[in-house]
């Protein structure tokens, strides 16, 4: 089996460009603003887990020719499937609303027009993109634009943070103050990075692109390098927030406090780069989550699906993403704060991770689906331990965050 260089490059570009979303940007930025570099280790842990999960989801699709939803329904029965379906649909709708809110925040930063007024044009734009576009346009178009987020890495190059401090922050250290906030942010970062929509979308994409067993080395390379680079950009966001915002005491209680984060580094361009990064990162993620919601429901119910099909050939699929985008738009139109919604959604993702990940792990260890390509011991243990820890911690820290305890 050979690696296909073009597919690897394209896969890496889409992974890097598509990695950041409102969740990873805001959780990393808030972590950096409040705790400096101290929470960097959570991104490193999340990277390991997400690399394993993305590699598994591509391998599952290529070997079993099933999507994850298909597999869970077939293996556990429809009654069981309803549980992850409900949990993921609710959480992903919250994330979709957050992403739409992120695009609106970017537009408000750039124009001064209130974000609520942007929600309907943004919703229509997303819907049109999905209605008229195809899978390649969604996957590659959004991700190539998303390469603007590399500006965070350039920012790190410009400011030269202390590598000694960065190295030290890759090892977990207990918080001195704000303990509840620290752990809340740790699980939110985990939720933002290991969001099930990412690997469900990836696996559905693998089916849309008709992956075979010979694509497994390419899949592995894309998962490791693409997710690895994506994580490095998220780390850059955290480090820049630690460098720019933390010394000024700015804790990112409000999204407007985020707008000038890059201006001390890039001057006038920093403002526009940040707004553009936020917009395209959230746009890519909104498109992916809109599709993912449709994928998961259609695949679970056995309905026709596919972004490469015309809406009239997969009507339920198209109606589902239409409804999802409409609901996300309404949530922002109602005036719910996108930043707060993001932070709560990301913690909830961590809390509900076992519902999506554990059934998937059972599939990954089932020879009936995976033949000789079942999981190894290390990948099982790493994913189980990290997901369980994140879930338990989030159940503890979500109430504590609202108690203001520490």
């Amino acid at each position: 089996m050979k690696i296909k260089p073009l597919a690897v490059v394209l896969g890496i570009v889409t992974s890097v460009g598509g990695y950041l979303d409102i969740g990873s940007i805001m959780t990393s930025a808030q972590a950096g603003a409040i705790f400096g570099y101290q929470l960097l280790w959570t991104l490193a842990v999340a990277a390991i887990v997400v690399i394993f999960l993305v590699e598994m989801s591509g391998r599952f699709a290529a070997v079993s020719k099933h999507t994850i939803a298909d597999g869970i329904r077939e293996r556990f029965g429809f009654n069981f499937f309803i549980i992850p379906l409900l949990a993921l649909t609710i959480v992903n709708l919250m994330i979709l609303a957050s992403e739409i809110g992120g695009m609106c925040i970017a537009l408000e930063l750039a124009t001064g027009v209130p974000l609520r007024l942007w929600s309907i044009p943004v919703g229509l734009f997303l819907w049109l993109f999905l209605w008229k576009g195809n899978f390649d346009l969604v996957e590659n178009g959004g991700a190539i634009l998303g390469l603007v987020t590399v500006c965070f890495l350039v920012g790190i190059y410009v400011v030269h943070p202390s590598w000694h401090d960065i190295g030290r922050s890759l090892l977990p250290s207990p918080p001195v103050v704000d303990k509840a906030k620290y752990w809340f942010l740790a699980v939110s970062i985990m939720g933002a990075s290991v969001s099930p929509y990412l690997f469900i979308f990836y696996s559905s994409g693998a089916i849309e692109d008709k992956w075979k067993e010979e694509d497994l080395p390419t899949n592995k390379m894309v998962a490791v390098v693409g997710m690895g680079f994506g994580t490095i950009i998220a780390m850059a966001v955290l480090l820049l927030a630690g460098y720019v915002l933390q010394p000024r005491g700015i804790r990112l209680d409000h999204y407007s406090q985020f707008g000038a984060m890059l201006t001390p580094i890039f001057g006038h361009w920093g403002f526009w780069l940040l707004a553009a990064s936020l917009f395209v990162a959230c746009m890519g993620a909104s498109l992916e989550i809109g599709l993912e919601l449709s994928y998961f429901i259609c695949q679970g119910f056995g309905w026709g699906w596919g972004e490469n099909k015309k809406p009239k050939d997969a009507p339920r699929f198209s109606i589902l993403y239409t409804i999802a985008i409409a609901l996300g738009t309404v949530i922002i139109l109602l005036g719910i704060n996108p930043l707060k919604l993001t932070m709560v959604s990301m913690a909830l993702v961590s809390a509900t991770l076992p519902l999506a990940v554990f059934p998937f792990l059972v599939l990954m260890n089932d020879r009936a689906y995976m033949g000789k390509h079942t999981n190894g011991l290390i990948s099982n243990v790493v994913v189980i331990v990290a997901v369980l820890l994140a879930s338990v911690l989030s159940v503890i820290t979500i109430p504590l965050e609202f108690l203001g305890g520490g």
């Binding site: 124009t111 804790r251 001057g267 403002f271 609202f402 108690l403």
Partner: protein, 104 residues
Amino acid sequence: MFFLAACSSPSAQLEQVKQTLESWSGTIDMVQEQWNKHTIPHAYVKKTLQAAHKELKKQAEQVRSLKVSAGRKQVLIEQIQKLENKSARIMQEADGGNRGRQQE
């Protein structure tokens, strides 16, 4: 969630107010600094200072409802007032297109 937030101790609430004030003080300073350097647009200055005004008002109400000594409340109210004044002055300067005033 909001019920839980209301249940936190007065000292925790006081600490939260202090952190929020410090955060908005840093934000107002940064807006002034970056406005003077021509790196941020007027619309952003206006929006951020409006958000600061709204949040400071909310914090003032929070301070008044805190179960701590009157002296401690007074210190915080004065701090909020100073930030309000500074924010209003920067807004006025930005509206008039003035830049270059030194930070205090």
